[in-house]
Symmetry: C3
Subunit: 254 residues, 3 copies
């Protein structure tokens, strides 16, 4: 896979598995990369050399610009639409069912599906510059697939606000206060120190205890394989609407 | 309906429906006004000229002083008691089942049922002077009807605190931190600017996407028609107790 | 029961029942004391002279150091392990099913099961020095028994953080922001003034209304008798693992 289409890499050090995803367009994620990311998470979950996972993205720009806009504007039938939105469903379900605790490292701005990845982490560290936005409604769709993951962490009020106020950024401080992030830092150095400290601690902790803790933390989400697919179907239908088609037409003519 | 008994008005501008309720006694709400408010919300939900709703109250005093005390002190049988408490149940269920997103504008102090209206908004803006209180327990009843709406937004801990600590005001900053309000402003001007900006944005957004978002945000509340009626029955019984009768007697003798 | 093995005392004044627990080792709680605490809570719930309960611990050191470490290191079979972890389950279920509202007074540091007691209060006051920690994972177990009580108050994000980051203290400000504490104070004097004010208010409030409010606040937890027992079984198995045995061996050799 050429790096211009994005990349997903897994490295293992001292029982810490680090998964890095990348795409040249702001770490936005096309379907092929999302599927590779989901598969890599699942395989890391089965790898006995790994006791704790860290998910991060490359560079010092955006953490994740969300789903790939190039793919979005090419959708013209329901099956393609549903498949498009299933990408993040597969990643979120892989994170959910992974028996290892997952730390997410959010170094920069995050949109849409990327907010879902931040939310699906078991402990999420971020930098203070990591503003977030759920911009889906502005495109005539909605944050339906990532919704359950985001609401699980931030609650009904903050999820309502984020999903309805689709054109404004919410800053990292807001994300911290509302539980999307667990700790925020003023520099990449401090961010990485904190992640290293927790990951090292967990790499020495009881795998059996962590497996039970992971199961307890995600209890009640057993229906998400089906639920997130149903959510992808809602978005897959909405994306075919005149509203979204007109939005895309305007965007193409810019 | 004469304005001295209160009023409910709906105006429509640029696909934004604005519902204003009013009562001369601090915008407290008698049963007739609550029923008219519920009906107006339902009709606005069915009106294709309206894409987003704003609920506000008149004046620059209290946003809502809760249920009508004049009616409360006249209750002396269970059926009247239940019917009294059903008023806010009807309003909350109308807000819940309305297929349009609802913005609530809380410009001042809010008590009891008014806190429920603030909580049932999909995005709630408030002024910094908008202190809140759930005073029900002090009267020998409890915030049973509004409870599900308030807890849905602020969570178990904040709802416990509000409902148990029934004689103290909690300020708008507290309401913001706990998710009852989504944004607060230092002036009415700023409040209205922010509401206009979001309402205008939503009036241009995809009605179909917003309808799906509304359904997703309220998923899991399908039993509220029955639940809020059961809650009205609890309050309808409690209001007949010696405790409440004595409270009312003292109040009348003041 | 000699005080060197700990103590539980109930006093009643002006319809306020105050339960104080004590253990010379930082108010850590052996199984016998936990069972006496659970029983005292249940009896206070049935005592008509009591309208509201306050739970506190003795001294100005730790509020509660959690389960007794002396007992933990002596466990070498599953039945003993399960019985050990059932202690806090009994206390939490006694608090949950008590028909009276319960105020908890957290005057100092709190660990593990003590965090569960703070969480199971209906209104929890604390001092600013009351740091908290869920250290279970560091011992090869997990906060499984207290988990439902803690998550009910602080939500999924904060509970995930506390349970995963098992070696770090979280301060009282964090506990307040996340709903574990409802109010915090800079001095013991202010703490006690606030508790007296609320307890006195509730002692004058309608017992029937408070009983209904308590039921409403705990609705949805009816399965906790079974759930917390299942959680005690998870911990009872984990505590027999090589990981915990090695941890204990190192501890004994210190």
């Amino acid at each position: 896979m050429s790096e211009q289409n994005g990349a997903v890499n897994l490295t293992i050090n001292n029982n810490i598995g680090t998964i890095e995803f990348y795409h040249p367009k702001g770490n936005s994620l096309p379907g092929a990369i999302l599927r590779k990311l989901a598969q890599t998470i699942t395989e890391a979950g089965e790898n006995d050399d790994i006791r704790v996972l860290v998910i991060q993205s490359r560079g010092d720009g955006a953490f994740c610009a969300g789903a790939s806009f190039d793919e979005l504007i090419a959708i013209d039938d329901y099956d393609t639409g549903k498949e498009f939105f299933m990408g993040f469903a597969l990643v979120l379900n892989a994170m959910r069912t992974c028996p290892k605790l997952i730390i997410v490292r959010v170094h920069g701005k995050t949109v849409g599906g990327g907010v879902g990845i931040a939310a699906a982490g078991d402990y999420t560290f971020a930098e203070e510059k990591a503003d977030i936005k759920l911009s889906e409604l502005a495109l005539g769709i909605g944050p339906f697939v990532v919704g359950p993951a985001v609401e699980r962490k931030v609650g009904k009020s903050a999820f309502s606000a984020l999903s309805i106020d689709a054109t404004n950024w919410y800053d990292a401080e807001w994300a911290l206060e509302n539980g999307l992030f667990n700790k925020i830092f003023g520099s990449t150095y401090d961010l990485d120190q904190a992640i290293r400290a927790l990951a090292s601690e967990l790499a020495k902790s009881s795998p059996e205890a962590m497996k039970n803790l992971k199961a307890v933390l995600w209890k009640g989400t057993e229906d998400w394989d089906l639920l997130l697919e149903q959510r992808a179907e809602i978005s897959g239908r909405l994306v075919l609407s005149d509203f979204t088609k007109n939005f895309i037409k305007k965007f193409k003519n810019k």
